[in-house]
Amino acid sequence: MEFLVLQALSGLASASSLFLVAAGLSLIFGVTRIVNFAHGSLYMLGAYLAWTFVEHGPGGALGFWGGIAAAVAATALIGAVIEILLLRRIYRAPELFQLLATFGVVLIVQDLALAIWGPQDLLGPRAPGLRGPITILGQRFPLYEAFLILVGPAVLALLWLLLNRTRWGTLVRAATQDREMVGALGVDHRRLFTGVFVLGSALAGLAGALQLPREGLSLHMDLAVVTEAFVVVVVGGLGSVGGAFLAAVLIGQLHAFGILVFPKITLVLVFLVMAVVLVLRPHGLLGRPQAEARAPSGAGEPVLRPATRPVRILGTVALLCAIALPPFLGDYGRVVMIDMAILVLFAASLHFMMGPGGMASFGHAAPFGIGAYGSALALKLAGAPMEVGLAAAPFAAGLAGVAFGWFCVRLSGVYLAMLTLAFAQIAWSVAFQWVEVTGGDNGLLGVWPSDWARDRLVYLYLTLALCLGGTLLLRRAIFSPFGMALRAGRDSPLRAEAIGIPVGAVRWAAFVIAAVMAGLAGGLFAYAKGSVFPTYLSISKSVDGLVMVLLGGVRTISGPIVGAVAFTGLEEQLTRVTDLWRLVLGLAIVGLVLAFPAGLAGAAAALAERRR
């Protein structure tokens, strides 16, 4: 009995930590609609800065708490710089484009933190006055954890007062509901956005700094926390701070008791919770249906038109180059080209969902990885040759698409995207945990092509044929009646339903088509690498896909192709040239984001439009 009480208290302490990170993220998203991938980086910076200030400060209680306060202020300042220099310039870009910018920031911060604080994990001092344990029901419980349990509700109360009892808070809430209207009423929403972003950053900094007496600091803190924070925000309901608190408590408690029954549950617990909550409550626990962020007048989704003659010629030339080039390449050039072709199809399939379908996915690695595992398992379990394996890949991914899609297409916007992430993480954890079948994190080895395709040139042509064929097929589908119906459903579901388009079924079909194509890419990837690992299903694979689509331009059809080639080429070159490749890649992404807010292909299209 005593033990269960203590376990509940431990869960509450973790919940408080989780809530602090999530609160800032929720505020930022609610008002600015930015999916702030860099929130984890701000959290990490808060922790590391606190370490520096406390270590080099005057010591004692003043030095400690002063250091924490200084770290919070410094993180807020960094947040202000990010918002003013970067995000402010791209609010008008297509939805989710800001995610690309914050991804660049994540990469930059990772390398900077490594350069400043070194590779070793750091351990901060314990909090003065809160070092020891207290005794609860005859059991020892750390005083600092008890303090944390109180900090969570205290911050929640302060935020509530700020949001409900001040003019600024009223404006923030108004902007959360309808930022265009707030702007129309004469409120300078630029300053409002900056203010909210700074507040959110300060909360992230506080969450990080308060971990100092509790946890060691490592350079993996950023990505470890940011996904969980997103889950908490989404489970709670976007923009709802109270919901975030509820979700944090729910997850903290489920975890504290879950590990007693299933010691390996940590891997997947938060994503299971998110999947269940979103299936039952499509807008999270306390969220309300999202008011559409009204686009500035006349700047809705542009109509996709079939390629003009010059673009057609250009595309044909590029295609012919791709076909003519391989015999003149070295072996490694062929390897890179295989990777690129596969990723082009991967990005094109994601774009099919995101662009014409209006369904952004944060978990597109799922069909890709399931395809790869489909091929590998066909070989391992049934001894199937490559030809069968390559058919098994899209089939397996398509089945997964049918199942996941059935749940996902009912949702919209970020909720839909996060549900795809939840399914992807569940698939990942199955691949990771089911060691007997999938080999766990050691993966499945020896997935090599059939003899006739073993020569790299032959395999390259096979890959080109399937990937370019798949990409062209997707392109064809966009302009088919099906694609028209899909776009109609995206732009105006009500009107589409009224003229007899079954919007839900069309979206579901599009979800499955995208999954099938991603699965084919995954199968080809498996045979290209000779092995399959859970990393194929990982978040970073999904993020790579998003980055490619956004970089190329989500509103153009050639966008994913250009984006995939540019991103893989850039990464491939940089990792070989410099140890600081994350820094350079991050800077490049930030630069591209600022220069081409419509993506690379989007910028080209706009230029041509103006020339006309």
Binding site: H220, V336, F533, S540, A601
Partner: protein
């Protein structure tokens, strides 16, 4: 759309095309012997920065002595960022573009296994320096892959020897939830049960790697009231586990046996909160004063102005072993190099090491001792060198573990 679009489109693809047009460098006779080294530099910097430093040092030392076979050593480093698929791509690049003579490296087990499979496929030598997975030399072992570090099995066996001497009968385990953690626990249980049939395991916790919820985990272990703990967590998880365990009194009146905790990479960050009296494997770099190690330590300090870590030793040993094998083979021909590696003996900084012909595992050992606080930080005391050769299964068992004829 006139040609502006074309230009921009092409510019967007330029980066991609540049990758394809990378030049092929020819192999000059009498030029340097090239090693392709692939590791997770950006994702595991705490271990791998000291590793790379020592690699460069060892290479400089070899070259100062005139190189091997009259040719200097040269290394091309690649960062796989912890992704096996990238490691595979770089392996291809190093072999075909950079024309390296052999491959080395690997930190994560899955990266090591992926590279080993590439080595088998391409018939090229791969010297796995760090990955601990038993599969690398046993169930997935192949002719072209050799592994330097004592494997999960060996380190577990070293600790079982000590654990069996403890009076404790009720054990609990905590391990990161991935292959290394699971294997370590499996071997520890299996080997301990053989020598101590009276032992029972009353609780186990498998937090996700790097994501431990230390408070809840510590509390859950304490609730089972074990007499002893076997810990496999390391890095950030270990730090958090120790901190929560200390405050909640988990380690009081309990024996703790712990993998890798004596390595400076993981012991140093704990500072004055390093646990006392844990039985650990590790590397007591300050007290180990054999001439070979003292020379290495001094050289490392002179070159890099910091003390060596275990990663430094691993890299230094790898380069030394490669140089010794090259000298023994008298050629860079990989088939002959493989033969030279089988049964290769050389003198490393911990003592003599042999790469066993039977399973391609080196007999490099580890130090087993207890942790203690000295001068406000954790150190290893009462340590001894556990020679790896003594902690491997008998040959007839190894033959059943490894596919034969490889």
């Amino acid at each position: 759309m006139p040609d502006i679009a074309r230009r921009t489109l092409l510019a967007g693809s330029a980066a991609g095309l540049a990758a394809l047009a990378a030049p092929r460098t020819g192999r000059a006779q009498g030029g340097p012997i090239r090693i392709g080294e692939i590791n997770s530099y950006t994702s595991q910097p705490a271990f791998l920065q000291p590793y790379r430093n020592a690699w460069i040092l060892a290479q400089e030392q070899v070259n100062a002595r005139g190189g091997v076979l009259g040719r200097p050593l040269e290394t091309v480093f690649r960062d796989d960022a912890g992704k096996p698929e990238d490691a595979v791509r770089f392996a291809g690049e190093l072999l075909s573009n950079e024309r390296v003579d052999l491959l080395a490296g690997g930190f994560l087990s899955n990266v090591g296994l992926a590279l080993a499979d590439v080595a088998r496929q391409n018939r090229r030598l791969f010297v796995a320096s760090e990955p601990l997975a038993d599969a690398l030399v046993w169930s997935q072992g192949n002719r072209y892959t050799f592994r330097l570090r004592p494997s999960t099995y060996m380190q577990a066996a070293m600790l079982v020897e000590e654990a069996a001497k403890l009076p404790a009968r009720r054990w609990a385990v905590v391990a990161p939830n991935y292959e290394y953690g699971q294997s370590a626990v499996r071997w520890f249980k299996e080997l301990l049960a053989k020598v101590r049939p009276d032992v029972t395991f009353v609780a186990e916790q498998f937090p996700a790697l790097g994501r431990i919820d230390a408070g809840a985990t510590v509390q859950a272990l304490a609730a089972a009231n074990p007499e002893a703990l076997f810990n496999v967590t390391f890095g950030a998880d270990l730090t958090n586990f120790v901190r929560q365990g200390n405050v909640r009194g988990l380690f009081e009146r309990r024996s703790v046996v712990s993998m890798l905790t004596g390595e400076p990479e993981y012991l140093d960050p704990l500072r004055d909160e390093a646990p006392e009296g844990w039985i650990v494997t590790g590397y007591p770099w300050e007290e180990l004063n054999t001439p070979a190690h003292a020379a290495f330590r001094d050289a490392y300090r002179r070159r890099w102005n910091e003390p060596p870590r275990l990663g430094s030793v691993v890299a230094h040993e790898t380069v030394t072993a490669i140089a010794a094998a090259l000298a023994r083979a008298g050629t860079t021909d990989n088939e002959r190099l493989v033969e030279a590696f089988r049964g290769l003996r050389y003198d490393g900084v911990f003592g003599p090491v042999e790469f066993r012909a039977i399973d391609h595992q080196s007999t490099l050992g580890a130090f087993v001792g207890r942790t203690a606080l000295r001068g406000g930080r954790g150190r290893m005391v009462d340590w001894r060198y556990a020679d790896g050769a003594a902690y491997l299964p008998p040959d007839e068992v190894v033959r059943t573990l490894r596919p034969q004829g490889t």
